[in-house]
């Protein structure tokens, strides 16, 4: 069974529109969740982690334990947000990450 589910393989929005990339996880303990991003021709890098409760590049993500979700949101998408986004889970203090299958976001002009 998938421990991290990203239901959308592809997501396309227009510049200025809100965007939400969905992530659901399956873990009964206290999870630690992350979003990683890979821009075209660049290496994979951390975007944000739930424990920091930060906003990076206008993106936020809130951990909802009741719905076991960690959706990534941005109110006004920009063309430079086009990238591959991966949700990742650390289980029970493990130093290993379990990644979702990724969502490719395209922001159209």
């Amino acid at each position: 069974a998938q421990r991290v589910t990203q239901p959308e393989k592809l997501l396309s929005v227009f510049k200025g529109a809100p965007v939400e990339l969905k992530c659901n996880y399956s873990y009964s303990g206290s999870p630690e969740l992350f979003w990683y991003v890979q821009y075209s021709r660049q290496r994979l890098q951390l975007l944000l982690r739930h424990i920091s409760r930060e906003s990076i590049k206008g993106f936020t993500a809130d951990l909802n334990k009741g719905e076991t979700s960690f959706h990534l949101k941005k109110p006004f998408a920009q063309e430079e947000d086009s990238a591959m986004y991966y949700c990742a889970l650390s289980e029970g203090g493990s130093e290993k990450l379990v990644f979702g299958k990724g969502t490719k976001l395209t922001v159209n002009p």
Binding site: E32, R43, L44, E95, F99
Partner: protein, 113 residues
């Protein structure tokens, strides 16, 4: 800035060849990881090392082995390459701790013919 480098950007090998993928990090990180990245499958962990000579299997270790003789270097070995090992291979490193950032290398695109 953390620097994770991988020995090759592109590699083409033949079925049955022994293949070495090398990864080096310069930030004295204890943890190092090897993943493969396939379209539609995301990143899957092959092996993890938390110290020199220490290793743990990830989700898909079959057909792979690893070596960590020095803290900064983590090698992935395909003993006998097969076509289904054609993939993008990513190396990463991190400090100990479940909340610490993993820093990724640029990747090696391996094609096995």
């Amino acid at each position: 800035d953390v620097k994770v480098t991988q020995s090759s950007r592109y590699l083409v090998k033949r079925t049955g060849e022994k293949v070495f993928l090398e990864c080096v990090q310069d930030m004295d990180h204890e943890n190092m990881f090897w993943y493969r990245q396939d379209p539609g499958l995301g990143l899957r962990l092959i092996y993890f090392s938390y110290d020199v000579k220490m290793k743990e299997k990830g989700d898909i270790p079959e057909g792979y082995s690893v070596s960590r003789e020095k803290k900064e270097r983590f090698s992935l070995i395909l003993e006998s390459a097969s076509t289904n090992q054609t993939s993008m291979y990513l190396c990463a490193s991190s400090l100990p701790g479940s909340t610490d950032t993993q820093y990724f290398g640029p990747g090696t695109r391996l094609t096995v013919l």
